[in-house]
């Protein structure tokens, strides 16, 4: 954590702690840089991206939060990166270049939340049918669906 701040204080906008989990809030512009740093820095080695979880805070702005759950297998450590996105501009750089596993996670986030990942090699729906309208896990999408 301190390492990250030392490296670039500007890249971290907030650090949260809850139940022993550390969350680092990161501005969208710096995400890719930080991702590369965390994955490759020899003293950190967050080489395993376990999950990408978006949360829709509708109607609060910034509406979307994208959580990246990282694991350092050698150091037995976990870290959560959080990026906040405005509802009218849910665009975020893709991290598939850093962690190839992000591919399907990002497709799922796109499919269910409508968050677009810039630089993703194949951004298509993954769980819902290709011609589906709307993004089911958004909070303004009714649980029973539109009917």
């Amino acid at each position: 954590m301190h390492k990250l701040k030392e490296w670039d204080g500007e890249a971290v906008s907030e650090v949260l702690g809850f139940r022993g989990e550390i969350t680092v809030v990161v501005p969208r512009e710096h995400l890719k840089r930080i991702a590369e740093y965390l994955a490759t820095e020899p003293s950190l080695r967050f080489s395993f991206l376990s999950d990408i979880t978006p949360v829709d805070r509708f109607p609060i702005e910034p509406r979307f939060e994208v959580n990246y759950h990282l694991v350092s297998i050698d150091r037995r450590d976990r870290l959560r990166l959080k990026v906040k996105l405005a509802g009218n501009d849910p665009v975020i750089p893709s991290v598939t270049g850093v962690w190839p596993t992000a591919n399907w996670h990002e497709r799922e986030s796109y499919d269910l939340f409508g968050i677009r990942f810039q630089g993703h090699p194949d951004l298509r729906r993954i769980l819902m049918p290709d011609d589906w309208e709307g993004y089911p896990l958004r909070k303004d999408y009714p649980t029973e669906g539109y009917r």
């Binding site: 037995r76 769980l127 819902m128 649980t143």
Partner: protein, 399 residues
């Protein structure tokens, strides 16, 4: 073995073959679009979503306790692992400590789940590769494990036996006797399966050197569980981030360096043996009596007796089962080692009685993503072996 199909003009010609979603070896409704050059797979593209039921969305409309029943249905071969992951996440949100007795019983039952799940995997994988008889044997043993679950929870598969704070019910008396009978006979049965497969020439031919993924690639693709350990990376959530008192148990994390289908087979078989070791230790540790649920008025339901005899108990009981309970706002991520790998449960609370967001990091979903890495450049028949050793459960892939 390198064969290329060439047209009379000398150009390589590819053909697209659709495999699934209704195909016996896809274990459900997986569709794989294969681009073939003769019998060689040039490109494999998994298409999923045929079993998407919106479990994560449904969870948002249920109370914390109601959502437990949905977790059973994600990975229907390991319902107790899902129950555990979800309950631990909610308990973390509440900052709740579960009594040791419940923790040990949880460990014991999830390890039995791992055995049951690996037995299904072994049987179906063998049947995919043409070894019919193993299937019949593994399902026989699995049934014995399911009988234990039924004895404890009343259900063979959709157990919902773990609840927030502990267990649903006091374990039925003499249940440990039944567990003992199963774990005493299981090692002998595993020897039988190994006799049938481990040095079987056809089995070796179908699995050795097939579907290789290196440790570095497996990490990059997010593989976990036996997929990762079959590639030589000893990452096990039970060891790396112990939960539910796993740090009090002694067990090894089996790994194999080869990274092929045979390595993953060896890892899973060794894991069943390790699980039996853990079950035996847990049987020693479980106290015969004591609380099986934490006490926290207003959040954990009172005991049956208290509910029937005291007015406070009755009020709490009524409130918990109608309104639910409201954890403090916040978000947690809890990972456990399910039979298929790292099962992560992310729960966000906004301080109301229903989870604001629940996300399941399904190991099958992530492991399946590396199927193209395994299958490309191999024969069509090897695709079946690769899907098999990925050990996917479509309910979990699609959620």
């Amino acid at each position: 073995m390198t064969t290329t199909v060439e047209t009379p003009t000398g150009e390589a010609q590819t053909m697209v073959l659709n495999m699934g979603p209704q195909h016996p070896s896809t274990h459900g409704v997986l569709r794989v679009i294969l681009e073939l050059n003769g019998e060689i797979v040039v490109k494999a593209q998994p298409v999923i979503g045929y079993l998407h039921t919106g479990i994560e969305k449904s969870c948002e409309a249920k109370t914390y306790s109601q959502a437990i029943t949905l977790t059973d249905r994600i990975d229907y071969l390991a319902p107790l692992s899902n129950n555990l992951g979800y309950c631990l996440a909610v308990e973390k949100l509440l900052g709740l400590e579960v009594p040791k007795r419940a923790q040990y019983i949880r460990v014991l039952l999830t390890e039995l789940t791992r055995c049951a799940s690996h037995l299904v995997w072994l049987g179906t994988h063998a049947i995919d590769l043409g070894a019919m008889s193993v299937f019949l044997y593994t399902f026989r043993e699995r049934e014995e494990i399911l009988k234990i679950f039924e004895y404890l929870s009343g259900q063979r598969m959709m157990t919902s036996y773990f609840r927030v704070g502990g267990l649903a019910l006091e374990p039925t008396p003499d249940w440990l006797e039944r567990v003992r009978r199963v774990v005493d006979s299981l090692p002998g049965h595993i020897d039988e399966y190994e006799d049938l497969l481990t040095r079987n020439k056809i089995w070796l031919g179908r699995t050795q050197g097939v579907g290789i993924i290196s440790g570095t690639d497996a990490i990059a693709m997010g593989c976990s569980g036996p997929m990762l350990r079959g590639s030589g990376v000893a990452y096990d959530v039970r060891k790396a981030f112990p939960y539910s008192s796993y740090d009090e148990f002694e067990f090894d994390v089996p790994t194999q360096a080869a990274g092929d289908c045979y390595a993953r087979y060896q890892v899973r078989v060794a894991e069943i043996r390790e699980s039996i070791k853990i079950v035996k230790q847990a049987m020693e540790k479980v106290p015969a009596n004591g609380p099986f649920r934490a006490e926290l008025p207003g959040i954990i339901p009172p005991s049956r007796e208290e509910m029937k005899t005291s007015i406070e108990g009755l009020i709490y009981h009524f409130k918990i089962f109608t309104e639910g309970f409201a954890p403090p706002p916040g978000e947690v991520y809890q990972a456990i080692e399910s039979p298929r790998g790292e099962l992560g449960v992310f729960v966000a609370s906004d301080g109301s009685a229903k989870p604001y967001r629940v996300k399941f990091r399904a190991p099958s979903f992530v492991n399946l993503q590396s199927l193209p890495n395994l299958a490309e450049g191999r024969l069509i028949a090897d695709v079946v072996a690769c899907i098999g050793t990925t050990d996917i459960v479509l309910g979990e892939v699609d959620r």
